[in-house]
């Protein structure tokens, strides 16, 4: 038995004639922070879309805990413990912070209609548990005081944190973050850095990260994959990547 959480082999995604992702391999072990980096338009978000079921990959296999998930519906995949955030924040803007957190627990809460209409003890218990769980995570990301505020009224950094907390209440095993530091100030970036490490060390989940902020990536990653123009370019530890001439070339955009 391998202890691989996620094992991606030969992932390819074509849009008509355009090959956005070409034979990408990724391996994520339990309790690991793995980063995917690459220049703009390299196909990083497309990889995420393939893994999370938003696109059906043209080729390749995606094994989550030794189970093939390529081609499954998006919501089935997220129920298996693979949850993602988006490059552009996607919150339920007009709903309150706590409601955002409760919606994310929908499937844990989803008892039948009748028990909800009559507020059976079982329903109340589930609802209370969900509430406590939501508040626990709001506290972790320092948003508890805004629980009853509309999500759309939060500051950008707070919205980013809420998005992560909202993923975490679904109790994932692999959290995929698409450029979580984009638009954050240095202070907020540092907090994010600490949060991601905490997710790995205390909550024992794995994180797959797309990020352009190199100091963040180099500081927290256990392993880094580099993609350029859809094709895998290199992978290794932060040290190896930093000194890899191909990577430097790709980033400086040499011919």
């Amino acid at each position: 038995m391998s202890q691989l959480l996620l094992d991606v082999n030969g992932l390819t995604m074509r849009f008509g004639g355009l090959v956005a992702v070409n034979g990408v391999n990724l391996k994520v072990k339990n309790r690991q922070i793995v980063s995917v980096i690459g220049p703009n338009g390299a196909g990083k978000t497309t990889v995420f879309n393939c893994l999370s079921g938003f696109y059906i990959p043209t080729e390749g296999s995606v094994m989550l805990k030794n189970e093939q998930i390529a081609g499954l519906k998006d919501f089935h995949i997220s129920r298996k413990g693979l949850v993602r955030t988006f490059q552009h924040v996607r919150l339920f803007q007009k709903m309150t912070v706590i409601e955002n957190m409760l919606v994310a627990q929908h499937r844990h809460l989803n008892t039948n209609l009748i028990s909800g209409l009559f507020k059976t003890p079982n329903y109340r218990r589930l609802e209370r548990d969900a509430m406590n769980h939501a508040m626990h995570w709001l506290e972790e990301v320092d948003l508890l005081e805004f629980a009853n505020r509309e999500a759309g009224n939060l500051s950008y950094g707070q919205q980013r944190r809420l998005e992560i907390a909202r993923c975490m209440v679904t109790q994932p095993e692999l959290l995929m973050l698409d450029e979580p530091a984009a638009g954050l100030n240095p202070n907020e970036t540092k907090e994010l850095d600490e949060l991601i490490i905490k997710l790995r060390d205390e909550h024992e989940i794995s994180v797959l990260l797309i990020e352009h902020d190199m100091s963040l990536v180099m500081g927290i990653s256990d392993h880094i994959y580099v993609i350029a123009q859809g094709t895998p370019l290199a992978d290794g530890s932060p040290e190896e990547i930093k000194n890899n001439p191909d990577v430097i070339k790709a980033y400086l955009g040499e011919e």
Binding site: S78, K94, N100, V103, T111, G116
Partner: protein
């Protein structure tokens, strides 16, 4: 004032002129066996001229008018109400008081008013039902009246062919409408926005045309008449009992003189009961996971999917539950009227219900109740303008969108109590 504004105003006035000439300026009239074209009267032309001038000026000075609208104070409901905590203790009393007033009120006013109130209550039910689909789940449904028709015909047919009573048919009608919602929902809910609107619009028409043409079952255009009225534990509200040997009427049982207003008041009270039931039910649903999921889907479908929510199931539940509410209202409608025909279920009805939801403030129940009252009472007050009802209707909508684009009473987010 810029020239572009001037041209814009000229353009708008021109459009108004063309539309007015076509719709009001000329009329087809029968003279003998032939059709003749008749021009509008001088008075009508003056009105048209006035209208065009109004459009021209309002376009020309739209900036100033906008700032005028902005300066009209918007009554802020939240500041008018007592604070949160007090409100929580006051609320049950307020609701109880309101219910008592609603029950006593019909005994003090004319039959006509009670009848109108009953109609209003039907629209409240319909508005609340459509609110689930449009206001909460964000699915634009232009054929809502179809489910209303299904409910109405279910009761009418079951009562005519199988003699089933109103109370038995009420849940059956809601179920039948829900079934239609479910079956239609399956293929249709893959579509989004405008496409969904068009398909539901088509569905509304299909149902109406079906009812019109399936003559040997539905009676076609002549409809179904003599639909049984609801009874009070078997007591009828007719002058003479119809329902066989041991049937009794209400006034005989209670030793009263016969009066037709008993029936009207009884129907009104049933409507009150049904509306309270629907409000309670939907209120519960909105606070349940399913209600939150509806709203989440409206806010961001992609985020929902990424969190493991099955969007098809959620949309379908909104569609089905909304439809069942319409079916409920439909059954009551046919029982109240005693006569239904496809004429009652035309597109305009869907438009009116949608207007109630938009006017009320998408998602807000109190707003919808208020809007339903306005939308049914205003046409009655402006009886003499009945020909121009739609025009007034449009004007009202335009003004509302300018003054309060978020609706009369925008939805307030529930504040959840956080206990540590």
């Amino acid at each position: 004032m810029t020239t572009s504004k001037f041209y814009n105003a000229i353009f708008a006035a021109g459009i108004t002129l063309i539309l007015a000439c076509l719709m009001i300026g000329v009329k087809l009239d029968t003279s003998g066996t032939q059709l003749a074209i008749k021009g509008a009267s001088a008075a009508q032309w003056t009105w048209i001229g006035g209208g065009i001038a109004l459009v021209f000026l309002s376009q020309l000075f739209s900036g100033q008018i906008d700032s005028l609208f902005k300066s009209i104070p918007k009554p802020n409901i939240t500041t008018m109400l007592p604070e949160e905590k007090k409100m929580a203790t006051l609320k049950p009393w307020l609701i109880a008081g309101l219910i008592v007033i609603m029950v006593i009120w019909p005994f003090m006013v004319s039959r006509g008013s009670v009848d109108l109130a009953t109609l209003t209550l039907i629209y409240i039910m319909l508005g609340l039902g459509l609110n689930i689909v449009v206001g909460l789940a964000g699915l634009l449904d232009l054929g809502f009246v179809a489910f209303y028709a299904v409910g109405a015909y279910t009761y009418a047919l079951l009562s005519e062919y199988f003699g089933l009573s109103f109370w038995v048919c009420l849940p059956i009608s809601a179920g039948a409408a829900a079934l239609f919602g479910f079956v239609l929902g399956f293929p249709v809910l893959r579509l989004r926005g405008d496409y969904l609107a068009i398909v539901t619009l088509g569905f509304g028409e299909i149902i109406r045309i079906l009812l019109n043409n399936w003559t040997n079952v539905t009676g076609g255009p002549s409809g179904i008449s003599g639909i049984a009225k609801p009874t009070l534990f078997g007591l009828e509200f007719t002058r003479k009992a119809k329902g066989g040997e041991d049937a009794m009427t209400f006034h005989e049982y209670f030793n009263l003189d016969y009066s037709s207003s008993y029936k009207v008041i009884f129907l009104y009270l049933i409507a009150v009961l049904l509306v309270i039931f629907v409000i309670y039910l939907i209120n519960r649903l909105m606070r349940m996971p399913i209600g939150r999921a509806w709203e989440a889907l409206r806010e961001d479908e992609i985020a929902c999917r990424s969190l493991g929510l099955n969007k098809t199931a959620i949309k379908l539940s909104a569609f089905t539950i909304g439809a069942s509410t319409a079916g409920f209202a439909g059954a009551f409608f046919s029982a109240r009227q005693g006569f239904i025909s496809p004429e009652s279920f035309i597109f305009i009805e869907s438009a009116i219900i949608l207007a109630i939801v938009v006017l009320g403030g998408m998602g807000s129940q109190v707003g919808i109740i208020l809007a339903a009252i306005i939308m049914t009472i205003l046409p009655e007050l402006a009886r003499e303008f009945s020909e121009y009802r739609m025009l007034l209707f449009g004007l009202l909508m335009v003004l509302m969108m300018r003054w309060r684009p978020e609706g009369l009473i925008p939805m307030k987010r529930p504040q959840l109590e956080l206990k540590q």
